[in-house]
């Protein structure tokens, strides 16, 4: 570094605390709108891509955002359930492939997505190790979930009890980890997957216990033709094993079993229209196109971004004005220095360059700081958007 540029650098370095604060203020002012833009755009891309891959979602009437985000991102919702009979009805119609979704339960705080094997094909989920869940009590983990929970194939993961002190509610159920999926960079990486029948065990609708002819007589309250009434003291199986697998059963018709939603993959556009129109005519059901719902949601997000942009603009203007004030005060404090330089014969242009280089140094470093920060945000935006779900 030579000449006046060297002097500017030495002055900035001599006042490193003040220079650092100024650079930080300007850098953060530039970083805020840039980072917001990156995060919102990444969030929008993420949401849109997943929504485009999900043509239709059938669920109970209610908030369409809740239904869509529940089916796409497994977020908990207060919506009612829909019966499994709808899966059979759609499949029987032959116009579409239905994929049942139940995500009302968690394990160590993560959603358990109970579904059918078609879901894994839809999302391109392939097992990195082991196999996808095939029977009651099996579970496969998303890549990030496996990493963060520290679990591997062969481990057991207990579900979170729904009501710890209420004996009438189902207790925790042990899920056997049968596989771990490759990462696909979506919400699937964070989830635990199981068979849809496991959902009904977790609901307490299906259960498993020893055969009635092997039970102690004290646990049998009443026995009549075709019906055995058991005592409430009977302990049900808390996990499914190869030995007790056949003990699991339901006491109701499978058609009435509850689901959170059904992803519907229509055969063609005509089927899409027919299914959409038909189900939306039903009193307690709604069918949504996730792409349209997400577009509406993004319109809200983008309007918020515009607000943030406006706020950033005002903050930026205020910061620039304050920076100008700081530079003016600094220039005033350096009046004597300028006078000395003038007296020894320094050109006015050199004095201007001395100040100009320092301003450029501060602005340049601020921009580099903002660029590095924005790049870091862009690098970690996928995990940021994951936390926003």
């Amino acid at each position: 570094m030579k000449g006046v540029l060297r002097l500017s650098w030495l002055h900035a370095w001599h006042h490193k605390a003040a220079t650092g604060i100024l650079i930080s203020c300007l850098g953060l002012t530039a970083l805020l709108p840039a980072a917001t833009r990156v995060v919102v755009e990444r969030y929008g891309e993420d949401l849109t891509a997943r929504a485009r891959a999900t043509p239709l979602v059938l669920g109970p009437k209610g908030n369409r955002f809740d239904l869509t985000l529940g089916a796409l991102y497994f977020s908990a919702s207060s919506l009612d359930t829909v019966p499994y009979a709808l899966v059979r009805e759609i499949a029987a119609g032959g116009d579409a492939t239905p994929i049942p979704i139940s995500n009302r339960f968690t394990a160590r705080g993560r959603p358990i997505l109970c579904t059918s094997p078609e879901y894994f094909a839809l999302r391109g989920l392939t097992a990195r190790t082991g196999t996808p869940p095939l029977r009651v009590g099996d579970a496969a983990l998303g890549a990030r979930a496996a990493e963060q929970l520290g679990l591997a194939v062969g481990d057991t993961l207990p579900s979170d009890p729904t009501a710890l002190y209420d004996l009438s509610k189902p207790a925790s159920f042990g899920l056997h980890i049968t596989g771990i999926f490759e990462a696909n960079g979506t919400a699937d990486d964070e989830a635990i997957f199981s068979d849809v029948k496991t959902a009904w065990v977790l609901e307490g609708i299906a259960h498993g216990h020893a055969k009635t002819d092997e039970l102690d007589n004290n646990l049998i309250v009443d026995r009549s033709a075709g019906n055995v009434a058991l005592s409430g003291a009977l302990i049900e199986h808390t996990e499914a094993t190869p030995k007790n697998l056949e003990d699991f059963h339901v006491h109701t018709g499978e058609d009435r079993l509850p689901l959170t939603a059904i992803i519907v993959l229509p055969r063609d556009d005509r089927a899409d229209t027919i299914l959409n129109t038909g189900f939306n005519l039903r009193e307690k059901l709604q069918m949504v196109r996730p792409r349209e719902v997400i577009d509406d949601l993004l319109a809200i997000v983008f309007s918020i971004r515009r607000l943030i942009d406006l706020i950033s603009l005002v903050l930026g203007a205020a910061t620039i004005l304050l920076t100008v004030l700081v530079l003016m005060l600094s220039s005033k404090l350096r009046a004597r220095e300028r006078d000395t330089l003038h007296k020894i014969g320094c050109a006015p242009g050199a004095v201007a360059r001395l100040l100009g280089y320092e301003i450029l140094l501060v602005l340049g470093t601020s921009l580099i700081l903002a660029s590095v920060g924005t790049a870091a945000v862009a690098r970690f935006a996928p995990s940021l958007t994951a936390t926003m779900r």
């Binding site: 000449g3 002097l7 050109a347 050199a350």
Partner: protein, 230 residues
Amino acid sequence: MDRTGSGILTFALRDLVWRYAGADFELRVDELAARRGEAVACIGPSGCGKTTLVHLIAGILVSNNGTVQLDGTDLSTLNERERRARRIRTIGMVFQEFELLEYLSALDNILLPYHVADELQLDADVRGRARELASEMGISDLLARKPKKLSQGERQRVALCRALVTQPKLLICDEPTGNLDPKNAETIVELLLRQAREHAATVFMVTHDHGLLKRFDRVVDVRNLNGRDA
């Protein structure tokens, strides 16, 4: 080129009148000149115009009444850029308050004219000269220090090195000992005059310290410049 007697004139002021706009103050100089290598002390009470005189000789101020010749050139014929260029090449300036830049090391302060003037080339010779000057001034061990870490006397030695590093023909010193104790003042003036003699530079020094006057070839009182040059 103006010559008088046996010597070449470094500077010469004739029939000069200077007034600050809106002020009663007026400085009149009928004639004032200094030969090459001459050491001239300038005295006078506060407010009589010593600093104004220094600024006129250096071309920092320019009067339309009368002439100021520096190294044979009438400064009023030069524009601001030319005067500034001539100043940085020809004149070394030393101030009462040292006027060192706090953010530069002693060495960078010495080399300041080379950092800020495009017409001066900073090369190994100049760096060597700066170190040599510092050694002669007894501050060679202090070159990495910032002014804050130097004593008053050391600061003025750095300022003196800065004035001498361009090998000026004229050394203008505006009360350089004003902030120094008598012992330091003696030392600084001794160093200043010795260096000037070695480099055949003319010295024009404003001072209030009458104890130093005996060291100069000539003493001028600003009050006597009007019609009665000392």
